[in-house]
Amino acid sequence: MTIASGIVGYGAYIPRFRIKPDDIAHVWGEEAARIKSGLGLEEKSVPDLDEDAATMSVEASKNAILMAGIEPERIGGVFVGSESHPYAVKPTATILAEAVGATPELMAADLEFACKAGTAAMQIGMGLVSSNMAEYVLAVGSDTSQGRPGDALEYSAGAGAAAMLIGRQKDKFLVKLEGTYSFTTDTPDFWRRQHADFPSHGGRFTGAPAYFRHVMGATQGIFEKYGHTAADFDYFVFHQPNGKFPLEAAKKLGIDPKKVLPGLMTPRIGNTYSAASMIGLCAVLDAAKPGQKILLTSFGSGAGSDSFIMEATDLLPLARKKIAHQLSWYVNRKTYLDYGLYVKHRRKLKSQ
């Protein structure tokens, strides 16, 4: 197979604020220990008052562009996947493109597919660069995801962004993108209607018929399409709505959990939705050795999964040292909030 595209730079961003399930459970009269073990969560990230999907996409993208060492005006496409775009009408992608200096000669658009719009942006990037329609494409997943107060999602809905700069020059690849495969159906497991402040979900229906069917469908599909088995990969990154689902999916697929844990970030930062699997990928890329193979499968409610087969190149170890702030820096930078400050940060307090 001809490899026509690869990742030439990547970056992540996590806001500094955290809240622990204990503080949320205390307010709602729930047992924190049961929630922590049930969801596999230690804490989640919370955006600052002036942070949103646009500002976080800029932070992550700056890291990616810096790592690639390219002039931003060579970026021919910017695509931002999010379910918390600050505007209903008016693109986040233009804010990002302007902020990183990629305007005006470029394509740009916002994407929405629950938690997998960021990997959809990666697929668009792969298509555009391999068809010579763009030299570089910036694919971003960024979310300040919402959870209804008291709902299970309030414990997990975090904030973060990840950016992948995709190019076609083989000698610049940090990671070869060897193939992709998607598995999509109309499955209403989670949704948010126009003008609704918080999403709704189908409870246990979000499990077997939604997350597991699609994650496993895409993973098994890409194995079959490219003639691979689980043994061929050193790392697996699955979408991570909580700390449990990715490990359950791995178990069902016969994958050693040791190959999943390095990319499992949700227990420490919460579910960053469109960014979640891409941040997991950043964690793996910060550790991977040249020649190691990585399988990424995202999941977006509604529902679909995108799988990718990747291989780290010799350039990766040096390239990742070019940026000051790798993912671990953001993960370990923490300021804890109590529930009162948390609701202020998430603008759940009505002041007028």
Partner: protein, 386 residues
Amino acid sequence: MRKVAIVGVGMSKFGEDWGRGFRDLIIDAGRRALEDSNLQGAEIDAMYCGTMAPGPLIGQEHAGALLVDWMGLNPIPSTRVEAACASGGVALRQGFLAIASGFHDCVVVGGVEKMTDVPGPDVVSALGGAGDQEWELFPGATFPAIYALMARRHMKDYGTTREQMASVSVKNHKNAAHNKYAQFQKEITLETVLNSKMVASPLTVFDCSPVTDGAAALVLMPLEKAKKHCEQPIEILASTQASDTLALHNRKSLTELNATKVASKKAFEVAGIKPKDIDVAEVHDCFSIAEILAIEDIGFFKKGEGGKATEDGLTQIGSQIPINTSGGLKGCGHPVGATGIKQAVEISWQLRGQANGRQVKDAQIGLTHNVGGSGATCVTHILKKA
């Protein structure tokens, strides 16, 4: 009055059946019952189907006509029966009356509920309709809360313990582990029940029956005809029903269901037998305390001794009176409208010797006990190997 027999039984696999809808479930159960009866369908001249809340749960009313159409049985008369969680049992009684009276000669009775299409709070609201809305649900008493009140009073008056109630769930999961149609085919321990999340003190999640999709169906015939038609007809010796106030606070006692006592007493009179003559029973364990109340009110144990009897293993298979060999509502699942019919399916399998892995040895006579709401309707059937 003619004697009535069950000639065919069938049920869907109970559980979270996200791949199938309301009508698919009854088709599955109905087809199995018809195949089991060796009938083609043309002989059937009426249908009764118990379903509690298709309106709030899936937006569907006029279920009698819908289900008979999808069963391929048009244009026979079809009637939806609703009596909350006793809808299935009452539907069976309607089928029994239709045959016994001579009005119909071959009746299919079904029960079905599709509960997992809507979020949990909507299910709670739909099921709340089984109580007295104005006095119970509107002021905030959900069904777990209502049964929790009964449990607290039983604990106070008779010294019933949390462990005794939990032992109901442990036993029912143990039975369900041997039932391929059950929602939870997995054993649990006493600690699982005691340490699970509190729903309404003293009832935890594992004291409560689950939300379930499922259907069950039976084919009924006059006994005389049934004996010629099939090898193992099951005779319905008694079909009785009693009513009580919807609201718990209007009753004289919080620790007994008078409707259960009246319906069961009448059933034993009609059948000419006593509780000790029953070899196997399916009782309405929507909550663990409900099974304790049932085995006392039916007369298997003295009032106040049901908890201890369960803890001592007297309701296990192989012991004094095996209760809920299917796994009951707790282990097998509780698709509300289907439950009353499922109970008769299980007892039929027991009496035919077809309850693989959970068979009660030499079972001759069985009983089903199906309750609506917190006890406002009770329907009891006594079945016998013909």
